[in-house]
Amino acid sequence: MDLEKTYDKIYRYVYFRIKDRTIAEDITQETFLRCINRKGNMQVFEIKYLYTVARNLCVDEYRRVKTETLPEDYEEAGAQYDNLEERLAVREAVAGLPLEDQEILLLRHVNNESMGTISSTLGISRFALYRKLKSAEEKLRAGLEAVDHEK
């Protein structure tokens, strides 16, 4: 397992849920530390186990802070890319999707996780996941078209 890539995936996932760089990094590191304490060895890490721990820690964080204000650094992410207009359009379309759809799209198309890992992380069957993924992709496509029409 490439530890650095795994760290990036977990951090991206946590940041998506928390939207705060410092807390996201704390939760990511806490996830790794909890796994070390239980397994005693980094080599035996399973990505789905890390996702589950990270997800639970995010839930704990939601409970602790019940407000959902965007942090200052939220808009900074991705601003260094080319085709800024198109990327902002996608971001807008993604923001219009339900949180669960966003989560599925992130895990599948950004973190490139397998259907097995995602279904295990979200606690749903593969079939249900497949349907939800197709639905999320459809909604995103529709959202993008709507954004295009507005412009």
Binding site: Y11, R21, E25, E76, A77, G78, V90, L140
Partner: protein, 237 residues
Amino acid sequence: MKNDWKESLKAAFDAPEPGNKKEFLRNIRPREVSTPRMLFQQVQYIRGAVWIFALMIMIFALLGSWKQMEETEDLIPVIMPFLAAISVLETRRSRKCGMIEIEMVTRFSLRSVILARMLALGLVYLFTVCVISPVIAAAFGGKALLTAMRILIPYLITMSISLQVERSVWGRKLEYASLAIAAAIAIAMFWIKNTDSALLLGYTKVIENCGVLIVLVLAGITAFEQWKTINNVEEFA
């Protein structure tokens, strides 16, 4: 999903660069390594010359026994001190090669590295003695245990004195002090065998009567000296 959408999607979910990722990952690398694995790792860092010397002793003993060369029985105890000296030299190689600074910051402590190397060498030498003693004894009509005592006594004397000297002030200054000690022990063994027949008779009698006790005492002293060397390793290095 189209590929260009995927790229845009990645950007949409992009997170700011984490602040201390590298430092965190460096700190959580696994530190626990099993003893056999540690031993195996350290075996690879012991110089080839050490293994070749042990192998040559074994080949010499086996060939000498097979060809019935009478000198074999007398020469092996003379060579053994040099095997001990090489082992002691191996423990101070870190300083000689300027590796001490690097070893001190790696995942293993220098103490554990030296302990593992000593253990690996000790196990191989024990195996060598276990193989050559019965072969020599069978070839020249002696007892395997007595032959083992005659081989081990000069080896253990050299080891215990060399380890003590290596820790002393002048021992640290003199690069090859243990080799000089080995040479002295080897000359003494050679002298006992060839110069004075009364002394040889007395030496043989002592080994026959209380060889096991002498070896046990010497092994105890050597183990104690090694323990002291390991404990003082930072100062020693």
